[in-house]
């Protein structure tokens, strides 16, 4: 029987949750025996090749591309998991949610004090290339965009949390995490 497939992605995240997944140490060898990776930065597969058992989502939705990728994951994955605080509540990117989007962009690109050695933007232009995905009015938690089946909080979630949850799901057991594995930081 073919191994179940796992897909992962980082939306508006920092890849810290993916780092935490790698932090399962030597258990990664066992993970490779358990599953195949489909679309994921781990193997650099860009598009889904088929149905996946589990999708791991890192990061919230900050732009239209994030939303499209998230919807694509929902279509292809049996079980979708929000991994980490950004996927669950928007996290650090969501700090802009109380501020109007245009105000954020102006602060970043069109105010004169931003002209420094690291920013070359002499005309104070706000990036508006068709290649760039449009930003949303605010950063949305994943479960406010699509149905999410499980949430694994943490910044990042401990490697043990990811491991325990994945193994439970892949062996058809309930995900029952002990007290010490559910943390918000």
């Amino acid at each position: 029987m073919a191994k179940p497939k796992v897909a992962t992605t980082s939306l508006a995240g920092c890849f810290g949750c993916h780092m935490s997944l790698l932090d399962i140490d030597e258990r990664i060898l066992k993970l490779v025996e358990l599953v195949d990776f489909d679309k994921s930065p781990v193997d650099d597969i860009k598009e889904f090749t088929g149905r996946c058992a589990v999708g791991l989502i890192e990061g919230g939705c900050a732009n239209e591309e994030n939303v499209r990728v998230l919807q694509d994951f929902r279509r292809h994955c049996d079980v979708l998991i929000s991994v980490g605080d950004c996927a669950i509540n928007g996290g650090i990117p969501a700090m802009r949610n109380g501020i109007a989007l245009m105000e954020c962009l102006q602060e970043a690109y069109s105010t004169d004090h931003r002209l420094g050695p690291k920013v070359h933007n002499p005309d104070n232009v706000i990036p508006n290339d068709p290649e760039l995905p449009l930003l949303l009015d605010k950063v949305y938690p994943c479960h406010e965009v699509v149905k999410i089946d499980y949430h694994l909080p943490g910044c990042p979630p401990p490697a043990d949390t990811l491991w325990e949850a994945l193994v439970a799901l892949l062996s058809d057991k309930p995900v029952a995490l002990p007290y010490e594995l559910i943390k918000y930081d």
Partner: protein, 233 residues
């Protein structure tokens, strides 16, 4: 002279002294009733409603309700756990609780209650309100993003410090903790030694230059759920 009162919590017989609240008697008996605004050294406030119990079938705040002979109290029922979970959920979505960089994380009572209830994500949509920060004082700061309006600082400043530095202003969604000055915290007589600074359950009122002093793994709620010190008795 105080007389002894006998009543039950979840079918277990508990003895208390007349004049005690349900919470005081439960604490003494080693039964934990979750709470946020209540604190032993402060007068009861009854505002967070996390300590709601059923008294003879009616909901009451355990921190304010005095015990009475033969009272039947329900604490850990499915219905009450659901109500408490919803209150905690709402407190999370009504503020901006970014635990990942909060200095109080690991020692925060709101977070600890969410851990105890096994909350992985709130069920309500986030509101992301715009709240302000007052960092004018040299030694302490207010971050209203994290304030849950429990009134502990208001009571501690009034009753223990004798200063009346804090008070609530506004109503409903606009309610917030204000300071007793024309403008800022720096203009009040608040001091870093005030008890008001120590009683905040979240990171809304913190001392400056403390930062992340306790390493992860050694903080108050890293290994043991909130309330386990009471249950151990």
């Amino acid at each position: 002279m105080s007389n002894t009162i006998t009543f039950t919590i979840d079918g277990v017989e508990v003895t208390g002294q007349s004049g005690q609240t349900i919470m005081e008697a439960a604490d003494a008996a080693g039964i934990y009733i979750p709470r946020l605004c209540a604190l032993e050294e402060l007068a009861p406030h009854g505002s967070c409603r996390v300590c709601t119990v059923m008294v003879n079938g009616r909901p009451q705040a355990a921190c304010t309700q005095p015990i009475a002979e033969g009272m039947v109290v329900e604490n850990e029922t499915e219905q009450l756990l659901a109500i408490r979970r919803d209150i905690i959920d709402m407190l999370f979505v009504e503020g901006n609780h970014f635990c990942m960089f909060c200095e109080k994380s690991g020692n925060c009572e709101l977070q600890a209650l969410a851990y105890r209830f096994g909350i992985a994500a709130p069920r309500f949509p986030y509101l992301f309100p715009k709240r302000d920060i007052d960092a004018t004082h040299p030694d302490i700061f207010i971050d209203r993003n994290r304030c849950i309006l429990c009134g502990r600082c208001v009571r501690a400043s009034r009753d223990i410090d004798g200063k009346n530095v804090f008070e609530f202003v506004g109503r409903g969604f606009d309610k917030r903790v204000a300071v007793n000055a024309e403008a800022n915290l720096a203009d009040t007589d608040a001091a870093v030694t005030d008890e008001a600074v120590n009683v905040c359950p979240t990171g809304a009122l913190l001392k400056k230059r403390v930062g992340y002093a306790i390493p992860v793994g050694q903080r108050k709620y890293d290994h043991k759920p909130i309330g386990s010190d009471i249950e151990k008795k």
